[in-house]
């Protein structure tokens, strides 16, 4: 297969993915560490390298509003944000999913204030897990580019029609340069046809954009939204398969298992830290320790079947959360734990909260987590939630 590899950052890779997806309308407001993406897109539109309209909006709230409106009249749309900007969009995010407009967004994962911080963690997007958007988390710049293209195909599918958020770690991915293969436009066009929607609003078919409901029909709307999200699971699988056949890169659908075949203990994580975990898994495997990684790609829809399947095969599961739901535990852990509770087997569990506000997660940290999981199984310990870089447990 012919390749065109260039050395670019995660932010630039996203911009390339957007260009290749030919959106009609881009509306975004710049925020660190997403800024380079929207700067590049603005430059590409200005230079005539892509046909879309770039709307310079005055805020993130306007960005999501503009993309929703454009999507309602049948346009393919893109927006991007991060952290406080994403939170400022929050009202619109629910509108967008409720309206079933398949807007695609890039979110550069960044901590949320206070303390004000531009560095990365997952507290921005995980705090919006319930806003009805499909959420995928990527591990490198290539996956970021590829998932933008896949996102349109998934979100715009007639059985899904749900907006999708592609999450990449601020700085660790957005600002790191690496080799990225840029697919040919012709191949992307073949993979991703023009956006067609049965809900298109036009002069011939006027529709109501901000519709309301009463108690006797609201539940039906929400039921359908939930069904659409479950429908996405099959679509995600099909789209990933088709993508692999076309471009030669496969991302293993909802989750990726790494060396889990005969694993005794497994770490579960999202995003770029999965790469570092792979390195530690290889090291510990070479020492004869049966460890593995479960990379969760999609947080919504949630990969319940995959988590249960893994839990049936292992003795311990540790979940790394770059977030904390104050007063309880990490949000990824809550979700993983809910799936594990549905199988009829004891699995030792532990939640490792860390990487907050950009703090490095080192290989030594990860090795220690694996060792704690081994000793947790051996000592039949109580389940633990710990801030691992502080070495304190919250349920002591």
């Amino acid at each position: 297969m012919k390749t065109n590899k260039i050395f670019i950052s995660g932010d630039e890779a996203v911009a390339q993915g957007v260009r290749l997806s030919r959106p009609h309308v881009i509306a975004a407001y710049p925020i660190t560490p997403q800024t380079i993406t929207v700067e590049r897109l603005s430059e590409m539109v200005e230079a005539g390298e892509m046909d879309g309209e770039y709307m310079h909006v005055e805020s993130e709230h306007s960005a999501i509003s503009a993309t929703m409106g454009a999507s309602a009249v049948g346009a393919r749309t893109f927006t991007a944000s991060s952290s406080q900007g994403l939170l400022y969009m929050a009202e619109g995010l629910h509108y967008c999913s409720g309206g079933r407009w398949p807007v695609v967004m890039m979110n550069a994962n960044r901590s949320v204030a206070l303390p004000w911080s531009i560095y990365g963690d997952h507290r921005d997007s995980l705090s919006l897990l319930d806003c009805g958007w499909i959420q995928v988390y990527v591990e490198d710049a290539q996956e970021a580019l590829d998932m933008i293209i896949q996102a349109y195909k998934i979100a715009e599918h007639k059985d899904v029609l749900t907006p999708m958020m592609v999450n990449l770690d601020g700085f660790i991915l957005t600002h790191t340069y690496e080799l990225v293969d840029i697919p040919e436009q012709k191949m992307v066009d073949e993979f991703l046809p023009a956006f067609e929607t049965p809900n298109k609003m036009s002069f011939e078919e006027p529709k109501n954009l901000g519709f309301s409901s009463k108690p006797d029909d609201n539940t039906e709307f929400k039921y359908q939204q939930n069904e659409a999200m479950f429908n996405a699971i099959d679509v995600i699988r099909d789209v990933d398969q088709e993508f692999a056949e076309k471009f030669g890169r496969k991302y293993h659908d909802m989750v990726e298992e790494y060396r889990c075949e005969d694993a005794e203990v497994v770490l579960v994580a999202l995003g770029s830290v999965c790469g570092t975990i792979r390195v530690v898994v290889d090291k510990m495997r070479a020492e004869g320790k049966k460890v593995g990684l479960l990379k969760i790609r999609y947080m919504r829809p949630f990969p319940e079947a995959e988590v249960k399947d893994l839990a049936r095969r292992v003795n311990a599961i540790g979940v790394i959360d770059k977030d904390i739901s104050f007063g309880y535990e990490g949000t990824v852990y809550t979700n993983v734990n809910s799936a594990i509770s549905k199988i009829d087997k004891y699995v030792y569990k532990s939640n490792f909260v860390g990487g907050l506000g950009g703090r490095d997660i080192t290989k030594a940290d990860i090795e220690e987590m694996f060792n704690k999981l081994f000793s947790g199984v051996e000592n039949k310990s109580e389940e633990k939630v710990e801030f691992f870089s502080l070495n304190v447990e919250t349920n002591d």
């Binding site: 050395f7 660790i172 790191t176 790469g275 390195v279 997660i361 080192t362």
Partner: protein, 179 residues
Amino acid sequence: MKEIRWHGRGGQGGFTASRLLGIAASVHGGKHALAFPSFGPERRGAPVLAFTKIDDSKIHDRSEVQESDYVVVMDETLITPGFEKGVRPGATILVNTEKVEKYQDALKGFQVIGIDATSLAMEVLGRPITNTAMYGALAAASGLVSLEAALASIRTEMKPKLAELNVKIVEKAFELINN
């Protein structure tokens, strides 16, 4: 995996050099590379770091660089107490200086190599922008990338007129180190 740490001041082009090395190693050298700045706000003149990771296979490790194999110092006033932290014992340290001898005691346990990059940059560019001189010196001292790959990365990344001046600088720096 080889890890390289670049020291400069905001505006001196340290991050550009880290990317040039990444391009030479990956696009022109068939290896894999990551290049990234020290994350966070940037200010002209303030001390800044940049990093390059190079390996034969895909680089999955996204944690911070903890043990550099090579350190490049574009401005010698940045060698301050604590500088050696995070540098692997025996690592090669390249310093832009007229007098490398003065670091032999302070940086014991490392291979310290000096090059007067400022004079070289002034001679070719007429400006004290030393990133490509240090880049050429690193290529020669380390063998991480070939001279051809280093020159190709400059031509990939810079506009033709500027590229030719920097090609000249890299060639001269490479020669100075090899001699």
